[in-house]
Amino acid sequence: MAGIRTYSNTSSTREGLNTVGKEALISMLKKMVLARRFEEKVEDLYLRMALISGPCHLYLGMEAVAAGVSEALTRDDYVLATYRGHGHAVVRGVPLERIFAELMGRELGTCKGLGGSMHAATWKDANLLLATAIVGSNIPIAAGVGLAIKKKKEEKIVACFFGDGAVNSGAFNEGLNLASIWKVPVLYVCENNQYAMSLPVSMGFSTSIAERASSYGCATYVVDGNDPLSVYTAAKEARELCRRNEGPCFIEARTYRLKGHGIYDKALYRPEEEVKSWTSKEPIENFRRRLVEEGIITQQEYDEIEREAAERISEAVSRARASKYLDFSSLYNLVYP
């Protein structure tokens, strides 16, 4: 379809890697590793330790999307996330103990324990404005944030993450259209992980997500969502378009969740072949290999990244566990500002 740009395999060539500096490459790798290990710890805390309960949607396998987009953003840019938001929170630099504590429902949590996993990615200090549990609902909210940025003539954009499933919500049409007629600096990032819960994209759509998005006239990208560099390249370009008042822009990042929709979902509705094929495209191992192959980092350096991630996570968990629950009486004061 006219006007849809594609980025894939950007990290697969030396040339591709050279388009960004070493620093950004390593930063993305670090973010991905941290997000991955974070979620693995969450699984453990949930299933084995029973320290977390309620709905819990892991970001496993989708790390390249958050890492690539986040690398292209500035600290001042806003981010709107979803119930599958731990990854966004981690890459955005939210203190890990805050996220863990939120999942455990403790006062130290990003939302004082009132939000839980689905809303953990809410942290104003990192301009992570909200994490919604209502599919599609952050799309019009992002249009409003974008409008505010434009009105205040700030040098920011807002990145709004949602899944393939959100594209079929009413909010998508209303929100994307408002953003497009207002020409506001919103970067819509659709994490197309091939499924909305159990519904494969092939059953939910009769065309492609990018086609639907580009019919609003916004610059639209289809990127390999398992390659952080492809994501980064598109996001960087899109951010610039947004800042030149050519927003909103739209990225369809094609990726896959390594596990079920929620922590208990065994995802039996997915064909084995498909799972196998996507697993081989798993983002972290591939990116690590490329960076090592090209001598951008050494294996030792990589091991150090892993070690540091493990250490930070383990410390964060301890701090989270040490936190108390909010006193019930204080809830009454939180209903109204």
Binding site: Y78, G109, T110, C111, K112, G113, L114, G115, H119, T122, W123, K124, L129, L130, T132, I134, S137, I139, P140, I141, A142, A143, G144, V145, G146, L147, A148, I149, K151, K152, G170, A171, N173, E174, G175, N177, L178, I181, W182, L331, L334, V335, Y336, P337
Partner: protein
């Protein structure tokens, strides 16, 4: 004092606020060149320009969502939903987001905007364009809800809503747009959450909302001629409820009548009854009664609609009945 219509009072409050506060902007359908479906925003586009008076497509959910979004980063939107009947389309953004975000973010987010809407019962608009549905929002703590009945209150409450830190649903009444009353030109506030005793009385408490305040006052005059003194409370704010004013009046009169343009069952009046029964039980001398619309959708046919609607006569009859219980 200078008189304005209810509509002019709202417009003046908005216009003056926009002059003093750059963060305020308007968004909604046909609020610009058209001046709003009812004329409330007439002249504001000319005065403040397209940047601050934004005509939107027909996207009630996104209008509300955009207001949420703009407000959490510091703007102060005043959004309009043309008819209250279209609020169901915006319900998710209003109830599941605007009302809850402050709480569920542990206080981090402060959505703070005004959603203006109106109800058109009495104007031959039929079932999809006449609903007055304030009671829904009782189940949406985090939201504030007001429904002024006078030009004075319309301006004063709008001023308070603009100052308010929580999202507010501001419910206007189309049948009142042309009613006149004294309205100061200078800034003043009518507090959210404070009911107004419009008439003092000792024999029966009439709690009325929006248009029915006027009808209740008319009924009170007739009752007075029969020696029955009704206390008429204009409840004004639906959320948070001014329980004190209501309860203390009921303690005085021992009788309670609720009237509004809602359908009776599940109305705000049901909550008023529950409050009286919880907090003034020993004082009650007669059954509670409601003078509302019947539990049926609004018929278009003008004579049927007329019969459908509550009015002063029906308030009078019902009040007599419980007085003589």
């Amino acid at each position: 004092m200078r008189e304005l219509t209810y509509m002019e009072a709202i417009r003046e409050a908005i216009s003056q606020a926009m002059e003093r506060d750059e963060r305020i902007f308007l968004l909604g359908e046909d609020i610009g060149a058209y001046g709003g479906a009812f004329g409330v925003t007439k002249g504001l586009l000319e005065k403040f320009g397209r940047e601050r008076v934004i005509d939107t497509p027909i996207s009630e959910a996104a209008i509300t969502g955009a207001a949420v979004g703009a407000s959490i980063v510091g703007m102060k939107p005043i959004a309009e939903i043309m008819y209250m009947d279209f609020l169901p389309i915006a319900m998710d953004q209003l109830v599941t987001h605007a009302a809850k975000l402050h709480f569920m973010s542990g206080g981090q987010l402060k959505p703070s905007f005004i959603l203006r809407t109106q109800y058109s019962l009495g104007r031959a608009h039929g079932a999809q364009h006449s609903e007055f549905l304030p009671s829904w929002f009782l189940q949406a703590p985090g939201l504030k809800v007001v429904a002024p009945s006078t030009p004075y209150d319309a301006k004063g409450l709008m001023n308070s809503c603009i100052k308010e830190g929580a999202p507010v649903l501001f419910i206007e009444c189309a049948m009142l747009y042309r009613t006149k009353g004294e309205v100061p030109e200078e800034y003043y506030e009518v507090p959210i959450g404070k009911a107004e005793v419009r008439r003092n009385g000792t024999d029966i408490t009439i709690v009325a909302l929006s248009r029915m305040v006027w009808e209740a006052l008319a009924a009170a005059e007739k009752l007075s001629a029969k020696g029955i003194e009704a206390e008429v409370i204009d409840v004004r704010t639906v959320q948070p409820i001014d329980r004190e004013t209501i309860v203390s009046s009921v303690k005085k009169t021992g009788r309670l009548l609720y009237t509004s343009d809602e359908m009776a069952t599940g109305s705000f009046g049901a909550e008023i009854a529950a409050i009286a029964m919880e907090h003034a039980f020993e004082y009650l001398k007669a059954p509670f009664t409601r003078v509302c619309a019947p539990d049926i959708p609004v018929p278009f046919s003008p004579p049927l609609e007329k019969e459908y609607m509550p009015n002063g006569e029906k308030v009078y009859e019902a009040a007599l009945k419980i007085y003589n219980f």
